[in-house]
């Protein structure tokens, strides 16, 4: 039977259990949309391709599945770039489908032509230009394997329009042997695990450092098991938050530039750090030479290039985290470590008394109130900046996929479209998207998408009229020489805008938000809550540029 390239594409997507695509059409991707029409795949039309990529990213982070986005050639494809880079930095499995000009026009500066493969080479795990309709099936299958295997990441498939329209006799489709390296590359080395366990058991002040890789490996339960078995306190990187429930008694918070002071201090004083699924980004280590100066460091990761890239690991293992933990846990002994655990208990109590939430000013209690009003099964998505740190510090992450943040690239404008993807992927959960007034306007056009599909996300916009995090940095480190940060958003009526887009909305001051929060929590459709915040409401502690993790600056009074 003769089918077109596009038909085979859609069929392969269905074979890969794809039921949702976020996209925006154009002339060069029409054959794909045409074939998709006959299928069961649900296409969500966004209003800017960047949002399609962020939505697919949010969808993947919420569900653990591979996200799929679709754009046309030229400007459609280039609009995806920021979203692809965001997914790349946080290792989200994504398939990016782009239309392309017909093969005879390639390289001729044709209308709406860009070399999207060239442009995205450094920010994709791999990419393909399909030149034969009979190759689409095997190419796409391989793309999915690459996206989800090892350290996950985005894979781009460029699809010229004539190839999509061309016919292929299904019996001619080639089953090309996969080029994907087998997953067990990086095998569980039991001898190495024994060494790691020995160090761990001997250590007097050990800490587990949990990165984003644990969630990606679907090893959260195993990790919780390790914590319990070994009686070991843990800290997270920003991307590791939620891997083990925040309310777990061993949780000390997250480390780094904007981390919790206690977490940074404990890491600094520890004698053994077992790092699992974390890549020691500059945001978590600050000054490498001063990071954990007393500790022996062991690192387990599936990606060999992340080991020893920033911090020299004294012990390391390249392995799937779940396999590694399976082998490690039986070797770990429960040690009392009385002095260490007592000290941690004391320091924690002292900080709770001083009111850890004060570090976020009025935003802290506000966010806790939002969490209390929302259902237990709520996923929180942050944008970037003050809103992000307030949310990550104040929201208690109860489940692994309940906290979503663009830590690696720090992309403003992420939260609204990503939250759309999260809600679509997890319709039984409530979704709260936090953002500042800066990030909110970057993808504001998606309010149309939210209304048209009635995606019931709750959007909380902290409006302080400024680019808040930058304002704090200029205030503290640039002698208060403020420039280019006044967004004019305090002169704009966000509630009227939201209502104009068809959403229900309300405005509250951050210190007296009860009524607004209640209204939002009770709403059944999409809702926008504008929260007025003082521009001087910053976040503390903060590590000055060029300083180490323990040179944190604490809050000013008032």
């Amino acid at each position: 039977m003769d089918t077109t390239g596009a038909d085979i594409l859609i069929k392969t997507l269905k074979d890969e259990e794809v039921d949702t695509i976020f996209g925006y059409p154009g002339a060069n991707s029409l054959p794909i949309h045409d074939s998709m029409l006959k299928s069961q795949i649900r296409h969500y039309l966004v209003r800017h391709e960047q949002a399609a990529a962020h939505a697919a990213d949010g969808y993947a982070r919420a569900t653990g599945k591979v996200g799929v986005c679709l754009a046309t050639s030229g400007p459609g494809a280039t609009n995806l770039v920021t979203g692809i880079a965001t997914a790349y930095m946080d290792s989200t499995p994504l398939i990016v489908l782009t239309g392309q000009v017909t093969t005879n026009l390639l390289g001729s500066d044709a209308f709406q032509e860009t070399d999207i493969i060239g442009i995205t080479m450094p920010i994709t795990k791999h990419s393909y230009l399909v030149s034969d309709p009979c190759d689409i099936g095997s190419t796409l299958k391989e793309a999915f394997e690459i996206a989800r295997s090892g350290r996950p990441g985005p894979v781009l498939v460029d699809l010229p329009r004539d190839i999509m329209a061309a016919k292929c006799n299904l019996s001619d489709t080639k089953d090309v042997p996969s080029r994907v390296k087998p997953r067990s590359a990086g095998t569980r080395d039991d001898a190495q695990l024994q060494k790691i366990a020995a160090y761990l058991n001997r250590a007097e002040r050990p800490v587990l450092l949990i990165g984003g890789g644990v969630k990606l490996a679907k090893a959260c339960d195993d990790l919780a098991g390790l914590v319990e078995k070994g009686n070991i306190p843990f800290v997270s990187t920003m991307m590791g938050i939620g891997s083990v429930s925040a309310s777990n008694g061993y949780n000390l918070g997250f480390i780094g530039t904007h981390g919790n002071e206690l977490a940074n201090r404990i890491v600094h004083d520890s004698d053994f750090i077992l790092t699992i699924g974390a890549r020691f980004s500059d945001r978590s280590t600050s000054i490498v030479s001063e990071f954990a100066p007393l500790a022996t460091i062991a690192q387990i990761d599936i990606d060999a290039s992340s080991i020893g890239k920033v911090i020299k690991a004294d012990l390391s293992l390249v392995c799937d985290i779940r396999e590694a933990l399976e082998g490690l846990i039986p070797l770990v002994e429960k040690k009392e470590r009385k002095e260490w655990m007592e000290r941690i208990k004391r320091e924690r109590a002292a900080r709770n008394q001083n009111g850890a939430m004060d570090e976020c000013g009025a935003a802290g209690p506000f966010i806790r109130d939002v969490q209390a009003a929302m259902p237990e099964a709520t996923t929180m998505v942050t944008d970037v900046g003050l809103n992000q740190i307030w949310a990550l510090r104040s929201w208690q992450a109860k489940a692994p996929r309940s906290v979503i943040t663009p830590g690696g690239l720090g992309t403003m404008g992420f939260s609204l479209p990503a939250a759309m993807g999260v809600q679509v992927g997890a319709p039984d959960r409530a979704v709260v998207a936090f953002s500042g007034d800066g990030g909110f306007f970057m993808n504001i056009q998606e309010l149309v998408t939210v209304t048209c599909y009635q995606i019931p996300i709750k959007i909380v916009v902290f409006n302080n009229g400024h680019l808040g995090m930058i304002r704090q940095i200029q205030d503290l480190f640039y002698g208060s020489r403020f420039c280019d940060i006044e967004l004019g958003t305090s002169k704009v009526d966000l509630v009227a805008i939201a209502k104009g887009f068809g959403l229900d909305a309300d405005r509250v001051p951050v210190g007296d938000a009860g009524a607004g929060i209640e209204k939002m929590a009770a709403s059944t459709g999409p809702f926008l809550l504008e929260v007025i915040v003082d521009p001087d409401n910053y976040v503390y502690p903060i590590i000055p540029p060029g300083k180490s993790n323990i040179d944190m600056i604490s809050g000013r009074q008032g």
Binding site: S127, I146, R179, V180, A304, S305, G308, K309
Partner: protein, 162 residues
């Protein structure tokens, strides 16, 4: 270990775009590729890239791991002088005149090179040997007025089967 010349042998799937990705890894780290040689191996689906860059051992370890992440990279190895045979071939273009003709011809004989072509007094000389031998010839010929040089860069293979 300090900065010195490092030879990397990279086996890759012979597909379009692979070379661009490999070069991109070096470029992204801010390092220059001093020379690059790429061709099919005994299996046409696999190509060998032999590259030279000046770096310290930390960087080489980093770049090897990052190359290892690429889907189309099959294997990466550093070829160390004692454990590998290293050879280079160059073509030297020299315009012959009354002053240099005799000396050039003498040099060709002395260094066991080959004159590949000679037209309108322009001769192209082939030199093959170890890096040191090739450099010696270039230095010797330089005063005669070298017009152009085309180099393969060092090719290397491990001495033993592995």
């Amino acid at each position: 270990m300090g900065v010195r010349e490092r030879i990397l042998a990279i086996l890759v799937n012979n597909k379009p775009g692979v070379l661009a990705r490999v070069a991109g890894v070096f470029g992204r780290l801010g390092y220059n590729i001093e020379s690059l040689c790429v061709a099919e191996t005994i299996s046409p689906e696999i190509s060998r890239i032999t590259s030279i860059t000046n770096a310290d051992s930390d960087f080489i370890e980093k770049v090897m791991k990052q190359l290892g992440r690429l889907v189309d990279v099959i294997e990466v190895a550093e070829l160390v002088p004692g454990e590998s045979a290293q050879r280079e071939m160059i073509l030297i273009g020299i315009k012959l005149n009354q002053k240099n003709r005799q000396e050039v011809v003498q040099a060709v004989g002395m260094f066991d090179c080959t004159i590949v072509s000679l037209r309108n007094n322009y001769c192209v000389i082939q030199v093959a040997g170890s890096r040191g031998e090739v450099e010696t010839v270039i230095n010797y010929m330089r005063p005669f007025g070298i017009d152009k040089i085309a180099r393969t860069g060092v090719l290397a293979l491990h001495h033993e089967e592995n």
